[in-house]
């Protein structure tokens, strides 16, 4: 008896400490440190962008690397926004066609000016090198006067001369700001990586005398003539740069040139007030449900009901702490999931108490009935919880968005934690406070319902 009480007290003290730490760490500067709940975009407000990556020009074996570097590049871009805890991730759907299989997901908490954000992410330059055969260029120039160049048909015809070479900004290893020796104008020096160096050498070898157009975002910024084969992978882009533009291009090439073109396919923006309302609603719903369920449990199940309420308190405190320290990103659906698991966590308790009542009706003593109740309810609890876990895992893996995944994670953790609190913790509490001798009062307290079945 004493041993049960001591153990029960430990569990209670532990749960109370966990609960208090979770509560205290919501505000900065407390003894428990500052660790607020991580709220999903639908609660904190912010922007969720989904991009589709066009990998049609990427060698299939290099796709994963390209996507990884795409993520890194966008992440660096996003970090310059000064957003706290942005999320950038690539996602591959295994069962759609190759063209739309690769996606880039960007979440920007607190950012609601989606125009600005999307522009800064999407506008990173794509650098391309394209060839024009010298003869074609000369023929074109001969047929066109400078004045005609301004018309759009001429411009289109001019751009059509350029043939892609496969050499892109992805193959730039390093870029630096330089000044041209003759005119002392700012220029951008580039050093290709191994792959780029080989391709560059090949192109410059086969096309001496031809033109190599350097395209930034589809616009030719400089069209130098290839004078000689270049083996060391070094090049210089000189155009009519001023120093600011040149250093911006250097930065973009080093950190920002997108290795894969992306298009925006989904935008979600949630204003901050709506999120706050959802948080308040969720918290209020949680508290009210907890109180109502507690009243029901105590009225119907009496002493064991009280035990179930305490176990539910332990459950809530452990769950909230886990949300914080795993951490689980809470969404409106996740909070709903948590409140549903409060209702479901009681299930194991109810199964056990109903079983105890039956055993009492068969004439067992209080302690025997309690032991039997826990032992016999176990198979039902196990089977039904395993089926819930199956559902949770499938939801988690096949959920199509973060809302569903968040819900599934909360649901899964809830099932696991409730097995501990509703069985192990409840048993400890019940053993600690159960009456020792069978009297009319103690039988009433341990029994449940409005009439005891005989």
């Amino acid at each position: 008896m004493f041993k049960h009480r001591a153990k029960a007290a430990y569990v209670l003290i532990f749960a109370a400490l966990v609960g208090y730490a979770t509560y205290a760490s919501q505000v900065p500067g407390s003894w428990a440190g500052f660790k607020p709940f991580r709220l999903g975009l639908d609660l904190s407000g912010g922007t969720h962008l989904v991009y589709q990556a066009d990998i049609s020009k990427v060698d299939p074996s290099a796709v994963n690397d390209a996507m990884k570097s795409l993520r890194d590049v966008v992440e660096r871009r996003v970090n310059t926004f000064g957003v706290s805890e942005p999320l950038v991730q690539v996602e591959q759907s295994s069962f759609s066609t190759a063209e739309n299989a690769h996606k880039l997901i960007v979440e920007l908490p607190g950012v609601t000016d989606v125009e600005e954000a999307a522009k800064s992410i999407g506008a990173t330059p794509s650098l391309e090198f394209k060839l024009v055969i010298a003869k074609e260029m000369e023929a074109f120039q001969a047929s066109t006067t400078v004045r005609d160049m301004s018309t759009s048909t001429q411009e289109a015809a001019y751009l059509a001369l350029f043939q892609p070479t496969g050499l892109t900004g992805r193959m730039v290893g390093k870029a630096s700001l330089e000044f041209t020796p003759t005119t002392n104008e700012p220029a951008v020096g580039i050093l290709f990586n191994t792959e780029g160096r080989e391709l560059f050498a090949k192109i410059t070898k086969e096309h001496v005398g031809d033109y190599l157009g350097i395209f930034l975002d589809g616009v030719p910024i400089s069209v130098p003539v290839i004078r000689d084969q270049i083996l060391d992978g070094r090049g210089q882009i000189s155009g009519s740069f001023n120093a600011v533009d040149a250093s911006k291009l250097v930065r973009d090439l080093n950190y920002g040139a997108l290795p894969v073109p992306i298009t925006l396919i989904s935008t979600q923006t949630i204003g901050p007030t709506l999120g706050q309302a959802a948080v308040n609603g969720g918290v209020r719903a949680g508290i009210i449900s907890f109180i109502l369920i507690s009243i029901f449990l105590i009225v119907w199940y009496r002493l064991p009901g009280l035990v179930a309420v305490i176990a539910l308190g332990v459950y809530t405190s452990i769950m909230l702490a886990l949300f914080k320290y795993i951490p689980v990103t809470l969404t409106a659906a996740g909070i709903a999931g948590f409140i549903i698991t409060i209702g479901m966590a009681v299930d194991a308790n109810i199964l056990i108490f109903e079983r105890m009542k039956e055993e009492l009706a068969r004439g067992r003593g209080i302690w025997d009935a309690m032991h039997e109740g826990f032992a016999r309810a176990w198979t039902s609890i196990k089977d039904s919880n395993i089926s819930s876990i199956i559902t949770g895992i499938i939801l988690f893996y096949f959920g199509s968005n973060s809302v569903i995944k968040g819900f599934a994670l909360v649901f899964l953790i809830g099932v696991l934690v409730s097995m501990f609190t509703a069985i192990t913790a409840s048993r400890l509490f019940l053993y600690a406070i159960a009456p020792q001798r069978s009297s009319k009062l103690s039988l009433f307290l341990i029994n449940n319902g409005f009439k005891s079945r005989k």
Binding site: V114, G282, A285, S387, I390
Partner: protein, 298 residues
């Protein structure tokens, strides 16, 4: 046990509900949210007073002539239109403020491309199928030692019949609500269905588990019908009380949890109520029916 004795009544009630759900699906279908079809959904509020609905529609017609505008609350509209690109978004923003003459605040802006929509739909079907398959396999495994008088895979199949019943009815209700009140079916709705599946099988398993235990204890002396009846009455209070606590939580959530999840919670309430009904009044009686059919064959 009255539940088992009167099973024909319960079969009829369920039959009617499932039949009506099918009819509604057949005639009215479901109203898909932009999650599945692709499209743009904007909630916009006008703190300085809401302009006329017709003006907003007219302003939006430049971008999408078939944009629909519905009022929401006292100062907001919900706009639904085709998927928008970044450039179109700024046109929409301008149109919503009636070219800057009216202050408009975009509370939410969702635009989902058609590819993402198709993918979400595919994943929804896939996860429902997988959950059902996973559960039937698990039940067949968990009840593998029970083979007399009804073999274990039949327990699994009956559980699935009950599950399909539990999914069809909320879907039917949402089809009716979609027709009359514009309720939409989105990925959250599918999540609700999956939770209902998990919850309902939970209930069914508890009753089956009791049947299994009682078969073992009776060692062939009692009629199967009586064993099932006894099991249902032993688990009856538990089934009702567990659903009750969960429903308490859900009803509270429905009223104070905020508008964003209200339809999701409603789907859960319907599904869990129906699920509890089916595990007590349909699942277990079906065991008896199956056993009787086998006996007749022999």
């Amino acid at each position: 046990m009255w539940v088992v004795k009167n099973r024909k009544i319960f079969y009829t009630v369920s039959g009617i509900l499932v039949g009506l759900s099918f009819l509604s699906l057949l005639f009215w279908g479901l109203r898909s949210g932009i999650d599945f079809t692709g499209g743009t959904l904007i909630e916009v509020s006008y703190p300085g007073g809401r302009p006329d609905q017709g003006e907003v529609v007219a302003a939006l017609s430049e971008v999408d002539p078939s944009a629909s505008v519905r009022s929401s609350g006292s100062d907001s509209y919900i706009v639904r239109m085709k998927p928008t690109t970044q450039e179109e978004h700024s046109l929409v923003t301008k149109a919503l403020s009636l070219n800057g003459t009216s202050r408009a605040v975009e509370k939410t802006f969702d635009s989902i491309g058609p590819i993402l929509g198709t993918e979400a739909l595919y994943k929804a079907y896939l996860s429902i199928a997988l959950v059902i398959l996973g559960i039937v396999l698990y039940i067949t495994f968990a009840f593998r030692k029970v083979s007399e008088p009804v073999s274990s895979w039949k327990y699994g199949l009956i559980a699935i019949a009950a599950l399909i019943h539990d999914v069809i009815i909320p879907v039917g209700v949402f089809s009716v609500l979609g027709h009359f009140a514009g309720y939409e079916v989105d990925t959250l709705f599918v999540t609700a269905l999956l939770v209902v599946l998990g919850f309902s099988v939970h209930d069914t398993i508890v009753v089956f588990d009791r049947v299994r235990e009682n078969i073992r204890n009776s060692s062939g002396k009692k009629a199967f019908e009586d064993i099932v009846g006894e099991s249902v009455s032993q688990t009856f209070t538990r089934s009702i009380n567990t659903s009750l606590t969960t429903l308490i939580a859900l009803v509270v959530l429905y009223f104070v949890g905020g508008a964003t999840i209200q339809h999701f919670v409603l789907a859960l309430i319907i599904g869990i109520a129906v699920g509890t009904y089916s595990s007590v009044f349909i699942g277990s009686p079906l065991l008896v029916t199956v056993e009787k059919m086998q006996a007749r064959k022999r």
